[in-house]
Amino acid sequence: MIKLTDQPIDYGALTASVCRAGCGGVVLFLGTVRDLTGDVVTEALEYEAYPTMAERKLAEIEGEVRERWPVGDMAVIHRLGRLGIGEVSVAVAVSCPHRAEAFEACRYTIDRLKQIVPIWKKENRPDGSSDWVHPDAATVERSDQTRGPLS
């Protein structure tokens, strides 16, 4: 299931919806609005999408995932509009027979979403200023690298 919504995401229901009898591993990823990026304080994020293409790219990603891992089911919901600190912007739920596959498939889904899905966020700061976030390729690569604990 793939969805864009302007409503708060019911990630409990989303997780339950992908459970399958043959799947012993169910992984849920939540992207949430963070209060700080470096030194910059965030008051709110606004998300917008190119909806038809975003849904198409999410469906493509699901196809890629299902090709590579034995997925019982998976679901992705991305929220649009204005979100405050701590709110959930995206939820990805995946079930697989075993946990290693479920973790990998879920990780791949969110990483690919952040690469190719036409959705953009705008940082709103306490002083009233705001900026669209358009990372360069180098920034995306650095933040995607898996870090060890405490690094």
């Binding site: 190119y50 293409m53 198409r56 969110i110 036409p118 953009w120 669209w132 976030v133 358009h134």
Partner: protein
């Protein structure tokens, strides 16, 4: 031919509208469209280099030929998730 380009995020802010119409020759490519956009809206030039073009919901190659009745969109670097 006249093409309409949908604009998003900072591209929309820079142009001041959520779409822009351009006059292009019949055998124009995606690269030609970028050139025209940069001429029409010089402030867009820097972002344009880092942005993708989509035709009917698919990323377009630079040498892809454009036609009139397609949906074209300018997609700045994405930041979803």
């Amino acid at each position: 031919m006249i093409v309409t380009v949908r604009l998003f995020a900072r591209a929309r802010d820079l142009v001041g509208a959520d779409q822009i119409k351009l006059e292009l020759p019949m055998s124009a490519t995606a690269a030609d469209l970028r050139t025209q956009l940069a001429i029409r809206v010089p402030a867009l030039a820097g972002l344009l280099e880092r942005s993708a073009l989509a035709v009917d919901g698919e990323f377009a190659e630079r040498d892809q030929l454009l036609s009139a009745n397609t949906e074209i969109a300018l997609l700045p670097p994405v930041s979803g998730g």
